[in-house]
Every structure is written in structure tokens, then in C-alpha cells.
Symmetry: C2
Subunit: 560 residues, 2 copies
């Protein structure tokens, strides 16, 4: 953590005003890292899927969260000390003090407080436990205005735009919608730095599928990937995804597909396979509406932490919003071949209806023709009046009808990524020490494509003409889109170490030979080897190096 602050990855927010738990600043290096992780996520989960990305407001009107259930259920139980006034999250305090895992119900917590006579650290007594909604609330407009909340997840903005989204995809399942952005959780008393934040960054994908077709056309691409699963009975499997589906460990193929894709994404950004596992929610742990749910967990110095949740949320969200907004959020699915069914129809006898119902007869006949019919009597409603018709007024005919499709509320598979924890885990897994020329070296072995500073241009000596030449090269590389540092302070060895420590994969050094043949050296962070290349070739070579993991010795002539 100290290195992360000192080197410019993460800072404490509002530091000069005393700080505030649960908020961090992404400093220059941390910001670049997270943005790059987001872009790779976009490649995996937007560009290479039938997925569109949207960006909806962070403030949401109350109705949204009443429908989603957050207004009532998104709560933690708090306890407040009657003496010092400190407020704790009850389950965390009980875990800390008594090492008891407790699920968050007011009654259970009350019992524990009494049985163990649990007191505050100041020795004060606690008040009655109370539940606290974890959404930040605000008001829109003048005066008291309209009640609103900061979104606790990006997903709801997707669900409520479902009609527009479905229309965008011309109502053809499956399709997905992604959103990357801030979400908020007014934690009672957050600790653990970057692991438990009040303001955090999510990347969420809501992938809408036909309820009876939980498959993915690209499943074969990941089917043979082997990974570590911890099932809901806490049994550990090292198994391929196809076998896990076959044996029913993972509920369906599309969940397995996204588990596989999540693993490949995490590997791509440098999470180590041996420190990654997928853990199934136990039956009492998962949301009541979820058909199955898996967390991607990563081993860090905080232990195993959840970084991704992958859930089959069924039609819960769309059904709730449909109910509360009274909008039809179903999709009409055409059958590939129409179904032919026989139905009974009432054919009106106009010669009986006419004399009896007079001016109403025509309308009654129209209504009759629309009715699917069983039995001998029909009741219809005409302009508020209920009319019973016995079979003297109509004939019953059996006719064949084509059913071309049906309306369904899609199910949704949701991979939800916590970008802050992922960024932190990437940093931890990349941190390394080795010995170079007899000295210990700290080196951040970030994947090249994640490096916040991609290349550093260093004049061998801090004087002319080295400095001007190095500044010109830095400018050339910036024009080619590279995040480039120029640095002329301290010995060249010390500068290399500085860039090793922040994960910069390549240092370019301007030396005496540069002025003879317009070449420079490229130094590789990991091997510390150097090669010499022409200045003019630098942009092309670096472009290729930055997207690959090949050694630099493939480029140019070896440097002495």
C-alpha cells in the first residue's frame, strides 16, 4: 500500500481535509491502469459479443429502486454505542470480536449482543440494532424536490431501458448490454482500504437469453478450459467447463461460458491461475431469485476476495420493473415453424342476434369472433355492460389456427466485475522482487498492455545534446499515442529501478552512439536485457512489443 501511494497509483481522497474512509483517488498510474483494464474488458465483453454498451445516470429516481427491491432490502444492520456514539456494522463487529459468522437479521444480532454481553471498544453498551439502507440519498429539483438515490449498481439503468435496448437489437435474442461506471454503497464503517469502498467502479454485463435456451454459440471456445471450482457444498474441483456442465455442477452452458470468459479475461490482465477460483453461492447465500451464482475469487493479502459475480438472475429484474412500471417488457419470439392448433370459435347467428340486441348486435358479433371458446355459454362485456349469451345466438365451429410465436420475458445472465478490487489484485500479483547484479530490485511485472507508463526515454547523461535528443524522441512516441515519460534526474541505474518499480516495460536510452548512427537502446523491464534499434523504427517496434509477450531480443542487434 505504501508503494502504491508513494509511486502514484492510489491516494487517499480529501487528504488535506482529514480524509474519509471508503473513498480513494486514482492517482495518475492507478487511473491509467484501471482505464486499460476497462478497455480490455470492453474487447472481451462488448466488441467480441453481441453486446452494446450504454451509459446511464448515476442518480436514479426512487421508483427504480422500489421496483428493484433496493429501497427495502439493500440494508446492513448497525449498532450504535450509547456512550461514545460510534456506529458499527453489526456482523463485522461480531466477527471481529467473537469470530462468529452471522447472517444479518436484527433478531440474530440482538440475541448475540445479549448472550455474549458484547460491548463497544469504549466499554459502552450498544443500543438496539437497527437496519440502515446502504444507498446514498439525495433530492432532485428545488425545495424538497423528488427523492432519488445514487445507484448501488449499474445494472438497474440497463433493466429500465430494456424496451429501447430490445428495439435496438430488433427484438432478437440473445443480446447483451454492458455498462462501465461508478456505483455507490454507503457502508456503515468501511475499512480495508481499496477492498471496501463507498464509491466504486463496476463493469456489468446483462446478457438476455431465451429462458429455454441457456446456451452460447461460442461455448466450444472455452469448453476445454480447466479451472478450479468450489461448489456449493464446498467441494473443490479441477475440471473442464464442459464436464462441469455435463455433471450439473454449473447450472447451464451460458453461465459456464461466462465463467470461462471471465477466467480468460483475468488471465489476460495478469491474475495468476493458481490464485483464482470460482466459488458457487450456497443455497442460503444466493438471492432467492437467482438460479445459480458463482463468484470469481482471487487470493490476495486480504485472503480470497470476490472480484466478479456471475449470476443467472432469471426474469426477476424485468418482471419487477414490468410490474411496477406497468410496461410490457416481454419479447415476441417467432417460432421457426408456426404451430398449427385447433380451436373452437363462436360464429354469430346474425338472424337471432339482430332482432334481440338491435343496435348492439353488430358490436356483439365482432366481440364474439375474437373469443376463443369452450363450453356452451359466453359472457362478454360491451361498454361496461355484461351480456350472457347462450348457444342460440351462435354456432360452434372448430377451426385451425397458426401460432407464429409467443411472448417471453427474457432471462438474464449477469457477469458483474468490481474494477477496483481487480485493479488492486493485478497490482499485488504483479509485485515481485529479484536480484540484478547482486542488488535486490523491486519490479512490477504488469502485463505490457496494462503498463500505466509504457515507455520512459532517458538521456544517459543529464546534459546536452543528450537531453534535447531524448525530449525529441519522447515527443515522437507521444505523437504515436504512447504514454511516455522523460526523465533525466539521477544515475541511469537509479532511473531504471524507478521505472521497474512502476511496471514500465521499456526504457529507451539516448547514449553516445545515438549521435553516430541515430540508434537507441531498448531495455526490457523483466530480463533487464537491452537491444539497439534505429530511432525511426521505435514506434513500430514498440507497438508490436506492447501487444505481445515476445522477448525484445527479436528486435534489432544486441547491445554489447
Amino acid at each position: 500500500m505504501e508503494m502504491l501511494i508513494r509511486r502514484g497509483f492510489i491516494w487517499q481522497s480529501f487528504e488535506i481535509y482529514g480524509g474519509m474512509a471508503g473513498f480513494i483517488d486514482y492517482a495518475p498510474l492507478g487511473n491509467n491502469l484501471r482505464r486499460k483494464i476497462e478497455n480490455i474488458w470492453r474487447e472481451f465483453f462488448v466488441i467480441n459479443e453481441r453486446v452494446a454498451e450504454i451509459d446511464t445516470p448515476l442518480i436514479g429516481v426512487e421508483e427504480v429502486f422500489v421496483a428493484s427491491g433496493h429501497a427495502t432490502s439493500f440494508v446492513d444492520i448497525a449498532i450504535e454505542c450509547q456512550k461514545c456514539g460510534r456506529v458499527y456494522r453489526a456482523d463485522h463487529y461480531i466477527k471481529d470480536k467473537l469470530n462468529i459468522e452471522i447472517n444479518s437479521s436484527i433478531d440474530a444480532i440482538k440475541e448475540i449482543l445479549e448472550v455474549y454481553d458484547l460491548k463497544c471498544e469504549c466499554d459502552g453498551n450498544f443500543s438496539e440494532p437497527f437496519s440502515m439502507n446502504l444507498m446514498f440519498s439525495t433530492n432532485i429539483g428545488a425545495g424538497k424536490g423528488k427523492k432519488a438515490f445514487l445507484r448501488p449498481e449499474t445494472a438497474q439503468g440497463i433493466f429500465i431501458a430494456f424496451k429501447r435496448i430490445s428495439n435496438y437489437f430488433r427484438d432478437k435474442l440473445p443480446f447483451g448490454v454492458a455498462q462501465i461506471g461508478r456505483a455507490f454503497r454507503n457502508e456503515i464503517s468501511p475499512r480495508q482500504g481499496v477492498i471496501r469502498l463507498r464509491e466504486f467502479n463496476q463493469a456489468e454485463l446483462e446478457f438476455f437469453v431465451h429462458p429455454r435456451e441457456k446456451k452460447h454459440s461460442n461455448f466450444r471456445e472455452v469448453a476445454d478450459d480447466e479451472l478450479t471450482l468450489v461448489d456449493k457444498f464446498e467441494k473443490v474441483h479441477r475440471i473442464t467447463l464442459s464436464k462441469a456442465v455435463e455433471r450439473g455442477i454449473i447450472a447451464n452452458e451460458i453461465l459456464a461460458y461466462f465463467i470461462g470468459k471471465t477466467r480468460r479475461f483475468l488471465l489476460k490482465i495478469g491474475i495468476k491461475d493458481e490464485k483464482m477460483r470460482f466459488r458457487q453461492h450456497k443455497d442460503d447465500e444466493k438471492a432467492h431469485y437467482a438460479a445459480d451464482c458463482w463468484d470469481a475469487e482471487v487470493l490476495t493479502s486480504f485472503g480470497w476476495i470476490e472480484v466478479v459475480g456471475i449470476a443467472d438472475r432469471t426474469d426477476y429484474d424485468l418482471s419487477r420493473h414490468s410490474k411496477f412500471s406497468r410496461e410490457d417488457l416481454s419479447i415476441f419470439i417467432s417460432y421457426s415453424k408456426p404451430l398449427v392448433v385447433k380451436i373452437k370459435k363462436a360464429v354469430p347467428k346474425m338472424d337471432v342476434l339482430g332482432p334481440f340486441f338491435k343496435s348492439k348486435a353488430k358490436k356483439i358479433a365482432e366481440l364474439l369472433e375474437k373469443i376463443e371458446f369452450e363450453g356452451e355459454k359466453i359472457e362478454i362485456e360491451l361498454e361496461g355492460e355484461k351480456i350472457k349469451l347462450s348457444n342460440e345466438f351462435f354456432e360452434v365451429k372448430e377451426v385451425e389456427e397458426e401460432i407464429t410465436g409467443e411472448r417471453v420475458i427474457p432471462h438474464v445472465i449477469e457477469p458483474s466485475f468490481g474494477l477496483d478490487r481487480i485493479s488492486y489484485a493485478v497490482l499485488e500479483h504483479s509485485f515481485d522482487k529479484d536480484i540484478v547484479k547482486g542488488e535486490e530490485r523491486r519490479v512490477l511485472r504488469l502485463k505490457r498492455w496494462l503498463a500505466p507508463i509504457e515507455v520512459a526515454v532517458l538521456p544517459l547523461l543529464s546534459k546536452e545534446p543528450f537531453t534535447t535528443k531524448a525530449i525529441d524522441i519522447a515527443s515522437l512516441l507521444r505523437k504515436n499515442g504512447f504514454y511516455t515519460d522523460y526523465d533525466d534526474s539521477g544515475s541511469i541505474g537509479r532511473r531504471y529501478r524507478r521505472y521497474d518499480e512502476i511496471g514500465t516495460p521499456f526504457c529507451i536510452t539516448v547514449d553516445h552512439q545515438t549521435f553516430e548512427d541515430d540508434t537507441v537502446t531498448i531495455r526490457d523491464r523483466d530480463s533487464t536485457e537491452q537491444v539497439r534499434v534505429k530511432v525511426l523504427d521505435l514506434p513500430e517496434i514498440l507497438k508490436e512489443l506492447m501487444t505481445s509477450e515476445i522477448g525484445i531480443e527479436n528486435f534489432g542487434k544486441r547491445f554489447q
Copy 2:
């Protein structure tokens, strides 16, 4: 606007719950467009400057906005109808109804209401005008918690992190810090769709400079650019930037540099030069602390709208935060050559001091040596006791001292971009109609590098083997990172029109010849011309086309 909604650029937020003024959803195409504009901004204002990007919380603790002045001054005057209860922003309502431009003071508005007997649209009378703070407020933590606001601009997150930032740049001016993200403004009664939002997207750069060195080393790059300036006396100039600085129209070179760079950025994303001007704030319009301020304005169907503000904010922000946080936010600037100054020093005479002051003599001597001295008597304070010393106790010597530098509070030049308005203006300026084969065509002439869907792959006929081949090509292009659509619905002409309308620069068509020689056609949106190229060459060709404006006839053999 209708096209923007229908085609998936922008949607109304919370539509199924009745919507809410001042909020929009970025639909799939609008989201991609804005993200691409952000990335180009990053190239211009982060990568190619001595600038780092950070990302700080959207929620800010109260102290920040007390110091910045927002807690007291970020207000509009509201009037409320006593009959129907509607609340209006007073200056807007007065402009609408009376066509009077009024500056927002409660007294001025009260006078207008009385003089013109202004009533609500419902004919009700207005209450006394009152000021309303435009920040959304919330609370952090349990219970009443700590008062906080949603940030009204991204800039404050930068100013309060200044010490860390300066340290990151090793205290060497000039340097800049950028932030791209959401900001909030609780407008009283927003209209005008995307132009006046309660939640909006900013890209801000705070460029810190030495107060006496308001220059930029790259000024020559833009010095000869000619542009339209409207000065504070409303006089219009078509002039180069170097002349504008020379003649004192723009206050300093660094402001001119960022005006020039802003213009180049706006041109790059497709804002038309003839619909762009830079307008100087009048003396009564600009903030009291600003040395000079220019708005980039763009002509749209809403008239000239401000899309960028470029201000010399002097040391106002850092000084305020320094005062309120009691942190020193100055930087030590070393002189290139130390200044040598002569000062007078008091050299204690121990032989007189000793006998007279006894045990205190040593401490008095130490204090004397630290004092810079003028005159014949010295008063010092020793452990609370004031001691007067006449010149019998010391000798006066003149000594030379080196001053190596000074502490300064940097000034800040702030280019602040409204990304929502910019995105909207880009769309308006790109919208075009022409005649193709005798039919009117709607076409969005977006710069290729901004296209939300970069390429559409279309089977000539919606059947095998065309469809599978087209799907494979789409997949190839996606793997190469292109935003790719696959579309097989409707006639090929209709599909071309659909992609013309959303600004997709290239359509790839799989036709009969594809199965003979593995070639496809690329159709250019603007010229509607087509060329035929090998499928395998597509990724390379498209990569080159997407970053250039060269015609497609340079690639492959002409079709037909």
C-alpha cells in the same frame, strides 16, 4: 433529436417511470461516440502534454466546497408560484416572458417581478425570489452522517490533491492534471434536452504554471493558426494566435496555446471551423479571480452554445484550499543561479553577555545569531520573557547570503470541456442529406475515427452460404478490435442506408464472387463507391482507413 433517439444515440432516462428532466441515457451509439471523443481528448490533452490524468470521487465532503466557494456562491435564484407550486429559474423565466437579460441577484429579480407584475403561466403570483444552491447534497455514513455534495465540477478533486500531484511531478513546473468524468448541477427547471443537464460529463485540465512564466514550449505549433475571436467589447477578429497575443487581445501565451489546441481538437472531431468561435468573457461576466477567460462556442440549432471554457484562474483555488486546510500548497522554485544578497547580522559578545545574563547567556547568543538585523537595538523572546538588547551586547557585521529560490503558489490555466454538448454538436455538424441514384439519402458524416459502429458486414442475400461467411468475417474484424455489426435483414440498399444514417464509414458485402476468390467489397459511406479487396487484407486496410481520410479507391482493385 427524433433520429438520435430512434437510432440509438440518446434515450430519455427513467422513461418507463415517466422520465426526469435533465437526465439522459447514452444509448449504444451515443456511448461509443462520447467514449471516442474522450479518447481523442486524452491524446491531445494528456498524452501529448506534461499532464497526468487522475480520477477522484464524485462525492465530496463539505469542507471542499466551503473552501472552493460553491457552498455559498453556486446558486441560482428561483421563484415559486403560490398557486400551482411550480418553481422556475428566475432569470430564464424573465428572459422567456419579457426578453430581458438579467444578472442573478435577488434584488434585481424582485424589482422586475414588481415593475412588470410578472405572473406564473397559471396566472398565480410568485413568492419572494430565493436563492437555491445547485449542488446535490447527501450524507456519508450512518445516522445523520457527514454532510457531502456531488461535485459540481471535476476540478476541485484536482486542487485538493495538489500536494500529491506536485510531488508526482517532482515539484517541477509546469505540469497539468486532467480528469474526465461526471459532474452534477441540480438545475431548477432544466429544458433544452442535452444542452442543460443535471448530470453531465466533463473533461477538465488544470495546467499549473509559474505565475511569472505564462508561456508554453509548444506555442509555435499553433502560433500561426487563424481563428475567430470575439473580444470582451464584442468586436470580432479573424486573426492568428501569435498576433492576438502580441496585440494583447488574449492575456498571455499559454491561454492562447490552449485556445489553439482546443480549436484543433474540435476540428479533429468534426466541428466545422466556420461554426466555431472563441468569445472572451466581459469584465462583469468573468469570475472575480479570473485574469482572462474565453469560451469556445459552436453554432447549433440552439444558437451559439458554449462547449469549452478556457480560463486563467490565477492562484485562487490553491490559495483558498491552502487557507481552509492550513496546508502549504506552494512550490519551491529554485533559481537557475542563486541570488547573492548582503544582510546584517548580530554577532554576540560573549564576554559581555555571559556575566550579565549568566545561565541564559548561551541561549540568547543562539537566538541572536538567527536574527536578520537592522538598527541598534534587538528585542528577543526567551521562554516567554522579552529581553531588550542594546549594541553593547553584540557587534554588527555585514555578510553575504545565497538565496537559492522562492516559494510560489502556482497559477492555473483551465480548459474545461462539456462533453455532452460537444458530442451533440458533433452529431449536428455531421448530419447531412444528399441525392444518391435519384433518391434522397440521410447520412451522418462523422469523422471515421468517431464512428460508433466502424464497419458493417452484410451478406448480399439473407441465406447460406452468404450468411455464415459474413458472420465469420464479422468475427474476424471483432477479434481485431473493430466495432462491427452484422446485418442480414432487408434489401442491401436499405441496409446501406441504415448504416449511412448512423455514420458507419464502411460496409463490407459478401457476394457471389466472394466464394470464387475470397474477396469482398468495401463501400465508402461518403462517396458510396466500392472497391474489392481480399478478406485476409481487411483488418490492415480498415485499420489504415479508420485513422485517415484518404479515399478507399487507393485500396484494392476498383469494383466493376
